[in-house]
Symmetry: D3
Subunit: 267 residues, 6 copies
C-alpha cells in the first residue's frame, strides 16, 4: 500500500503489523481543512486493503489530536447546496469507513479533539486518552445540530443522559471524566498515551487476525443497525448549514466573542 498521496497524514510502520498514523497540521492544532477531512474519510479503505497492516493507531502531531474544522472550510459551506451535498457524503464516509475498516483502529487522543477529529477519536475501536486531553462535540457552538458521529455511538458509549448533556451544552470533557462515563476505553497520564496505544496495538497485532476482525464486525452490528439514526442526524446537521444561526456562530468564533443566535430572538 502506497500512502504517499496523503498530505496531512504521516505513516510509520511498527512491529507486528502496527501502522502509526499521525495527523500532521500541528501549526493549526491539526484542524481539518477540506483535504485533511477527505484524507480522514478515505484512509480506512487503504488500511483495509493494506496487506502489511494488521492494526492502525491514529494520533495527532504536537499538543492536539485535532481541533475541529478550519473556519474557512466552514464558511465555504454555508448555504452552498453543492458543498453541503458533497460534505454530507464525506462525513458519512468518515464514520462508516472506520466502522467497516477490516482492521482494528486504536486512537491515541493526545490532546484536544473536536468535530471530525472527535469523530475519528471515538469511532476508533479502542480509544486511549490523555488525562488532560479535552473533548467536545462542538456542533452546537456554531449553531449546527450534532450529527457526524454522535447520534450513532454516544448512547452506546456513555448513555443517553450524559450524551444529551454534553452534546446540547457543548461543554468540554477531560480525559478522566471521558473514561469515567464510558466515552473512551482507557485514560492514562499524558506522557504515556501514545506508548499505551502502541502497546495495545502491538498486542492486537500478535492476536488471531480473523478472530479480531470478526469480533469487531460482530460488535459493530450495533452501529450498522443504527444507520437510519445516523442518516437522520446527519441530514439535520446539513439543514443547519442553511440557517442564519450558523453564519452568526462562525462569525462569533472568528471574532472570539459569544454568539447571539438569530433563532433566540423568537422561540
Amino acid at each position: 500500500m502506497d500512502y504517499s498521496e496523503y498530505e496531512h497524514l504521516l505513516f510509520e510502520r511498527r512491529e507486528n503489523g502496527v501502522l502509526l498514523i499521525t495527523i500532521n497540521r500541528p501549526e493549526v492544532f491539526n484542524a481539518t481543512n477540506a483535504r485533511l477531512h477527505w484524507e480522514l474519510s478515505r484512509v480506512w479503505l487503504d488500511i483495509s486493503d493494506d496487506d502489511e497492516t494488521r492494526v492502525a493507531v491514529i494520533t495527532g502531531a504536537g499538543k492536539a489530536f485535532s481541533a475541529g474544522g478550519d473556519l474557512s472550510m466552514l464558511e465555504g459551506q454555508l448555504g452552498n447546496f453543492k458543498e453541503i451535498h458533497a460534505i454530507s457524503n464525506e462525513a458519512a464516509d468518515l464514520v462508516y469507513n472506520i466502522i467497516d475498516c477490516k482492521k482494528p483502529v486504536v486512537s491515541a487522543i493526545n490532546g484536544v479533539a473536536v468535530g471530525a477529529g472527535l469523530a475519528v477519536a471515538l469511532m476508533a475501536d479502542i480509544s486511549i486518552i490523555a488525562e488532560d486531553a479535552r473533548l467536545t462535540d462542538g456542533h452546537l457552538r456554531i449553531g449546527v445540530g450534532a450529527g457526524d458521529h454522535a447520534a450513532i455511538i454516544w448512547p452506546l458509549l456513555c448513555g443517553m443522559a450524559k450524551a444529551k448533556y454534553y452534546l446540547m451544552t457543548a461543554e468540554f470533557v477531560d480525559g478522566k471524566e471521558a473514561e469515567r462515563i464510558g466515552l473512551v476505553s482507557r485514560c492514562v497520564p499524558t506522557a504515556e498515551v501514545l506508548d499505551t496505544a502502541l502497546e495495545v496495538a502491538d498486542r492486537l497485532g500478535q492476536g488471531s487476525q480473523a478472530a479480531l476482525r470478526w469480533t469487531k464486525r460482530s460488535m459493530n452490528n450495533w452501529l450498522r443497525q443504527a444507520s437510519p439514526i445516523f442518516d437522520a442526524s446527519l441530514a439535520m446537521e446539513m439543514l443547519s448549514f442553511f440557517d442564519e444561526d450558523v453564519v452568526e456562530g462562525v462569525a462569533a468564533i472568528k471574532e472570539k466573542r459569544a454568539p447571539v443566535f438569530p433563532s433566540t430572538k423568537g422561540s
Copy 2:
C-alpha cells in the same frame, strides 16, 4: 400560551425563553393524583406550541420532586378495565410527549422522585439531581411490573445490570449513585440543584434553537425505535392491575407493613 388551566403546576417565565414549571402539591410530597398525572402528560404539548418558551425546567415544590401516585388513584384502578385502559393511554402520553416535545426539557430533581414523577425526572433531556435526592421506580413495591418509562430508557442510561437490579428490587438510589451509574446527567449539592438547572437551561435558551431541537430529535430516535419495547412493558404493567398481588401491595403501603403477595404462595 395560557397555562391558567393547570391546577397543580406553577409556571414562571425567566430570561432567555426559560419556563420554570413547579409541581405544586408539597403537602403530599407532590404525589400525582389523577389531575396532576393528566397535567404531567399534557403540558409538553403546550410547551411545544408556546412561542415564548425555548427551554422548560421542571422541579418540585418543597422537599420532594414527586413521591409517586396517590394511593386513592391507585385503588380506583384496581381491576377496573375502563380506568386501566384510560391510564394506559395517559402513561404512554406522559412518556412520548416529553420525547416529542420540540423544546429541550431540564429536570431539577430536588428531592424524592417515584413513579410518574420519576418518569418525568428521567425522560427529561437533561437531569440535574440533588446529592441527597432519592429515586426509585417503585412499581415492584406494589406488585406491578415496571412499565411506565423504565423499559424504554434505563438500559440506555445505566446499562442492563444496574437497570434490572434497581427495577427488580425497587431499592432507592441516591443522587450521587444515580449520577455514577448514568441515570442522570449531573449531581450537585442539594442547595444548588435548581440554580444549576436554571443555569444550564439559560445557556440552552441562548443556543441555536433549530440545532438544539434537531439534536434532541436525533438522539431520541433511539427511544422512538424502542417504542414496541415500551408498549410491551406498559401493557404488562396494566395486566398487573388485575392481579390480586396489587391489592395486597396497595393495602400493605396503606397499613405501613410489608406486603405478603398472594403469588408467593405458589411459584
Copy 3:
C-alpha cells in the same frame, strides 16, 4: 421438579422459593466439559417449569465460578463440522434459555469466570461479584471470535468502548472494575458474595411474581431484538474453529506459552 439427572450441578432449596445451584467441578475450577456445558444450557428450562422455584441463584463450588472450557472439549471441536454444528446450537441455548427463563436468575460470582461460565454469570438478571473475582471473555486468547454472549449484551452493560477493549484484548477485569463499568449489578467483599446474592434472591422470592417476571421479560426485549447480532457473532465464532489459529491457541495454552498465531504471519 427432579434435578437428579444433573451431574455437575448441585441444587439446594432455600426459603421463599429460592433455588441455589452450585457448579460443582471444583477440582478443575468448575471448567465446563461437554456434560456441564449441556447442563448449563438446559437447567433454565427446568427452572421455568419448577413450581417450587421462584428465583434461582447460581454460584461455583470452591474458589472459582467457572474457569472456561476444558481443553479436551475444545480440541474435540477443532475442524469438526458436526461437533461445531452441535455446539453452536448449545451455545445459543445457553444464552437464550437464561433470557427466556421465566424466573429471575441471580449470579453469585465468587471467583474467576471465563467462557461459558462468564456467559452464565453475565446473562443472569442480577449479578453479584466478589471484589477479587476476575472475569475475561477469553475467546481471543485461543484465537476465536468473541461470540457466545458478548455481542448481545456487553454494549448494553458497559458500553461499546469498554466492551471492545476487553473483548479484543481479552484482559481480565476484577470485581470492582466490573461493577464500575456496569458489567455487573453489584460488587461486595468476597466473603459476602453468596450471602448477598441469597439475600437479594430472598427479597425477590417475596416479591410479586407476575410483576417480577414481566419486568424481566420487558427488559429482555432489548436482548431479543438483538438476536440477529447474537446469531452473527456466534456463527463467526464457529467459523474460527476451522482456522489454524485456534489449533495454535489451544496448543499454546496446554504448553503454557504465548501463542504465535499463523494469521500474524501475513496481514
Copy 4:
C-alpha cells in the same frame, strides 16, 4: 422420540425423515381445547430433539385444519388473572417454539383455520393451502385484540394494508386470495393439499439438513427482531380478556347472533 403422551395429535413417520402430524379432533373441526393448545405449543420442542425427524408436516383431520378455540376454554379465561397469565405464556410458546424449531415445518391447510390453528398454519415455514380453505384471525369477532401471531408476521407476509384490513374486519380469506396476497406459500386444489405438502416435505427431507436449518434460522431473524412487537400485541390481547366486550363476544357466538359490544355505547 416418544409422542405417545399426545392426546389430540396423531403422528405418522414417512420416508426421508418426514413426520406427519394430524390435529385430531375432527368432531369439533379440530378446535383447540386447553389440552390441544398445550400440545400445539409443545410439540415443536420434541421435534427439535427427534433424531428421526428432519421435516414436520402438520394438517387437520377431516374437513378443517383447526377452527379456533373452544368456547368453554375461552369462558374459563374471562377475567381470570391466573388463567390469563398462564395462557399468555402458552400463546408465546406456540409462536416462538415454531420459530425456534430446528427442523422446517410445512403446514397443509386442508380447511378452515382460525385462532391458534391459524397461528400454526401461518407460522409454519412453508404453507400449502387448499383453494377452498378459509382463514380468519378471528380475535376481533370476540372482542379481543389481534395478538397471538399476527403482529409478528402478517406485515412480512401480506403487507400492512392487507394485514390491517383482515385483522380489523376479521373477514375470511379463501385459499386463492391468501396466496395472492402472500399470506401462504402456495395454493392448490383441495384434493391435492396434503400430497403437495408431503411432496415438498419429502424434497426438504432429501436436502442438506444444516443448510436448511440455517436458512430457516437466518430468515427467522426478521421475526426474532420483532419480538417486542409480538410481546406488546400479546399483552394487549390479554388485557382484552378483562374487558366486558369479550363476555358479550363469547355470548354472541354461543347464541349465534351478532354481538352488541358494550364499548360501542360510548366512543
Copy 5:
C-alpha cells in the same frame, strides 16, 4: 368535539360513531394549501379526543382525493429556512398523528392522490381505492427526495422493488394495480368507493373498540420502530428545497413543460 375551525375539511356524523371527513377544495382538485396542510396534520388529534367518533373516513370532494401541494405553497418554501423548518415539523405531524390516532382511519380514495394527499390516503389503517383513481408520490417530479410518508410505509405495503420503482420514476399507479401490489387494502368500482369505505367503517364502529385500537397500535409498532428511517427521509427531502433543481422543477410544472434539472448537467 367542535370541528368548526376547519376551513377546508367538512365533517358529517354517521351512525355507529363513524365520522366522514371530506377534503373540500374541489375547484383545485383538493390540492393542499398551507391551511389545508395544517388541517390534515391536526385533525387526527381532535378525532382521538372526540368521544362521539369511533372511526374516521376521509375522502375528497368532487373527482379528486387530493392533487398534491399548491405551487404557490411550494414556491414559498424554496430556499427559505424558517418555512422549511416549520413544514418539516408539520409533515412529520401529518404522518405520526395518523399513526398515533387512537381511532381507526379509513380512506376512500375516490380519485387522484398526490403528495400530502397521498400520505393521508396510504397512512390510513384501511384504504379503499376507486378502480380509476391514480396515485403518485410525485416528489421526484419537482426534484425533491421522496420523504413525507413513503420511506416509513411503502416497503411494508408493496415491497422494495415496487416501492423504489414508483418512487424513483414518479409514475402513476391506478387503483387496480395499487391493490395488486399491496399499496391499498381494496379496490372497487369508482361509484362504490365511498359506500364501501363507509360500510367497512360502520362495521368497525360496531366492533369492540379497545380491541380495535389495540390491534391498530400493535400493528403500528412496525411503523414506530421505523421512525429513524422516516426522520432521515424527511430531512433529506427538506435539504432538496435548497437545491436549484427544485426551482426548475416547480417552474416546469407551472409552465407545463418537462424540467431540465441543473443537476443533470454534471453527474
Copy 6:
C-alpha cells in the same frame, strides 16, 4: 473513470449519463469465476466516483444474465479457511456496495440468474425481468445455507412465505411469477427487456440527481438496519462450506445427478 481493468464486464456510455454494463462470459452463461465475482463486487465503487455516470444498467451478454458460480471456483473453497474468509468479505462487498452505490442501479434480467448473479439482479434498485427469464437462489442445491443477499432483502420483496418457499426448495421462478410476488419491479416480453431498462434509466438520468440519490439512500435504510441479519446468514453460509454435504452437492452437479447428502443419513 477508467473501466479498462475489467475483464469480464463491458461498458458502454449512453445519453443522459446512463452507463450500460454487460456481464460478458456468454460461453458459460456469464457464470462467475473468481475474477468476475470480484469485478461484480467492485464496480459499484467506481460508478459512485464516476462523474460521467448518473445511472447504471447491468445486463448479461447472450441468453443468460448470470448462471451462478463456476464449479471450479466452488471447489477451491471447500473446507479452505483462507478462501472462505476472503470470499465472505467479497460476498458482503457485493451486496453492500450496490446498497451504498451513490447512483441508482437498474438490472435488465435478460435470462437465467443464479447465485451471485441473482444477488446483483435483485439488489439493483430497479429490476426489469424478461418473461421467460428464470431465477433461483440455488444455495440449497449444493448444500449451502442461503446467505449472500436473500436474508437481507427477500422478506421485503416478496414476503416471508414466498421467500422461505423458494429459498428452501431452490425452485426456479420465472419472470411473470417473480413480478407477481414482488421479487422484481417489472416484467416485460423478453425482446424488450434491455430497451425497457434503458428507457427507465434514461428517465432517471434526466431526473433530479440529489433527489434520486436521497430517495435511494432513504429506502435503503431498511436494508442497512437489517445488516446483522445479513451478517448472520452470510456466516452460516460460510460454515456450510466446511460441511461434507457441499462436497456431495458440487459433485452431483458435475456429474449431473441428484445429490445424496450425507446429512440425510442421520437427522
